[in-house]
Subunit: 331 residues, 2 copies
């Protein structure tokens, strides 16, 4: 069947801006197809190419397994790829793009940190009455920042925080990080003025920053999550805020994010507990919420297109991706 | 009359939090009086001390001139002191506190810069519909920041911007600054992605960043003012925004700030042009307004109290202030 594949590569889920960049960068000799649709929406009759590229919304048909050589997900997360491998047990090469938006996400994390420190939400709403009551904030110089998860994004957070003259410590599930004081989770949480979560979501990190872990924070500490909502459950965050353990929260990611997004987009009343908490949190002056947008810079969108084409070129010449899912990786 | 002065020093306009800190720090042997009132509100019958300390709201009676040794304004601005000297021609020593809030103001300027780059106002309002349309922002790494006014605050802006890996150039009315590429105003404005105004307000800087100066900006440049509103008139900023020359504006200070503050506090319709412009600007997604609050951090409030007591101690022993108004300073 493979010999009948019509294209060298098909790009699914490539939205307008990304598609434009990909078309510009793809080598002329390649037969490439571009679509904004998912595999399901495209209603494919068979495998259109030995190499396909998706984002996170396509469900890769299990029956394509034997005809595919490689799947490149143009995303930093790759749960969907490991899940596919677990289901098929196949040997399709699986690639992803871990680096395209590390700086964008880190800058958003630090913007949220500064905004919480300076009571920025209240500053801007207080403009309407030109009042300065309750607006005394904190400076980031010399504040203690604990970076939980010092991978690609966490390292950029560390870099920015040092530039802002903060004191920085870090924890990671994988390895001790050079050029940074490595700190156990409990120790770091007790030490921190601010905690930034930049962990990957795995079985190990699921609910890692729950109430029991975070209750050892200093009173009034700040928490920012730009990683995955499931790591710090919403009910726990709300309790920590209600009890004054947390003094402010900045979230770009959410537990049960699809449910919350659907409820907000469609303005429907939801009986879901997470949705209820979000509706309460978003009215608070010391809570800043953004719609999973930390990745979204022009630089990141451009880098993503470039890295996609590089990964495609490497795969077609060397049969492997610059960044591939290791076999032992859990979902 | 001087020998009859009842106190060693009287602190006017010392609000609750500041007064508490000052009382804690003032040497026990000094006869000090503290009040939240201005000189006018306190209805003084005569000069209560040879050394008085005010902020910016008291009108110093001209007839006190011959009985005063020194006036310490607990503020970074000192227009009111130079104006007093011009009116009285007297030799009263005039002190101020240039340094207490430099980092606080600079951090606010950079917070505004990051917020404008990342469309943060729109990001947070878009959370209500969990929509990411039109939220693609810019990263600060490698952006060109032009710091107009490289004094105490401007130098801190430069430090933070370098920590954020921005490209930085600076202009000042006074002197060329070491460790920074000094750039002429026109050259810098044409080069910049972002302009931060940190100039002092003087006859020379009045309206310095008007339409004619700023029209040479690149399309979509960002402008942040944490200095004085009069340096960048509101009508000019609005025109630059309307014409797309400015892509975003962050203001903590305002031309005709007292009029604007009064209109906003009292929710009164104002026929004033500045108030009208502000009411229009504050609805825009790419305009961030804060109520002259850049100075307002706990660190700055504490430093102000410490520096006040140091200045008082120095004046009482050496007859001069650590930071005094030079004779040639213009209002």
């Amino acid at each position: 069947m493979v010999s009948q594949a019509e294209y060298d590569i098909v790009f699914y889920e490539a939205f307008e801006e990304e598609q434009e960049l990909l078309r510009k960068l793809v080598p002329e000799h390649l037969k490439a197809r571009f679509t904004a649709q998912t595999i399901q929406e495209a209603k494919e009759k068979g495998v259109p190419a030995k190499l396909i590229s998706i984002r996170t919304q396509s469900k890769i048909p299990y029956e394509w397994n034997s005809d595919l050589d490689g799947i490149l997900s143009r995303s930093t997360g790759y749960d969907h790829l490991t899940s596919y491998r677990q289901k098929t047990g196949g040997e399709v090469a699986l690639g992803y793009l871990p680096l395209y938006c590390a700086r964008a996400v880190a800058e958003q994390a630090m913007l949220m940190t500064l905004a919480l420190l300076r009571k920025f939400k209240k500053q801007t709403t207080s403009f309407d009455s030109f009042s300065r009551n309750g607006l005394t904030g904190g400076e980031c110089q010399d504040k203690k920042l604990f970076v939980v998860g010092v991978g690609n994004i966490g390292c950029e957070v560390v870099d920015i925080a040092k530039g802002l003259r903060m004191k920085v410590a870090g924890f990671d599930i994988k390895e001790k990080v050079a050029s940074l004081e490595y700190t156990e989770l409990k120790t770091g949480l007790a030490w921190a003025d601010i905690v930034v979560c930049a962990l990957p979501f795995t079985k190990v990190t699921d609910k890692m920053l729950n109430y029991d872990a975070m209750k050892m924070l200093k009173e009034g500490a700040l928490f920012v999550n730009i990683a995955r909502g499931e790591i710090a459950p919403l009910a726990d965050l709300k309790r920590l805020l209600d009890e004054g353990i947390l003094g402010g929260i900045g979230l770009d990611v959410f537990e049960k994010e699809k449910t919350i997004a659907a409820a907000l987009r469609n303005k429907i009343e939801q009986d879901d507990e997470a949705v209820k908490i979000i509706n309460e949190l978003k009215t608070k002056e010391n809570v800043i919420l953004t719609p999973h947008n930390a990745f979204n810079t022009l630089e990141a969108v451009e880098q993503k297109a470039e890295q996609t084409i590089e990964a495609v070129a490497m795969f077609l010449t060397q049969g492997k991706f610059p960044n591939h899912i290791p076999e032992e990786q859990y979902a």
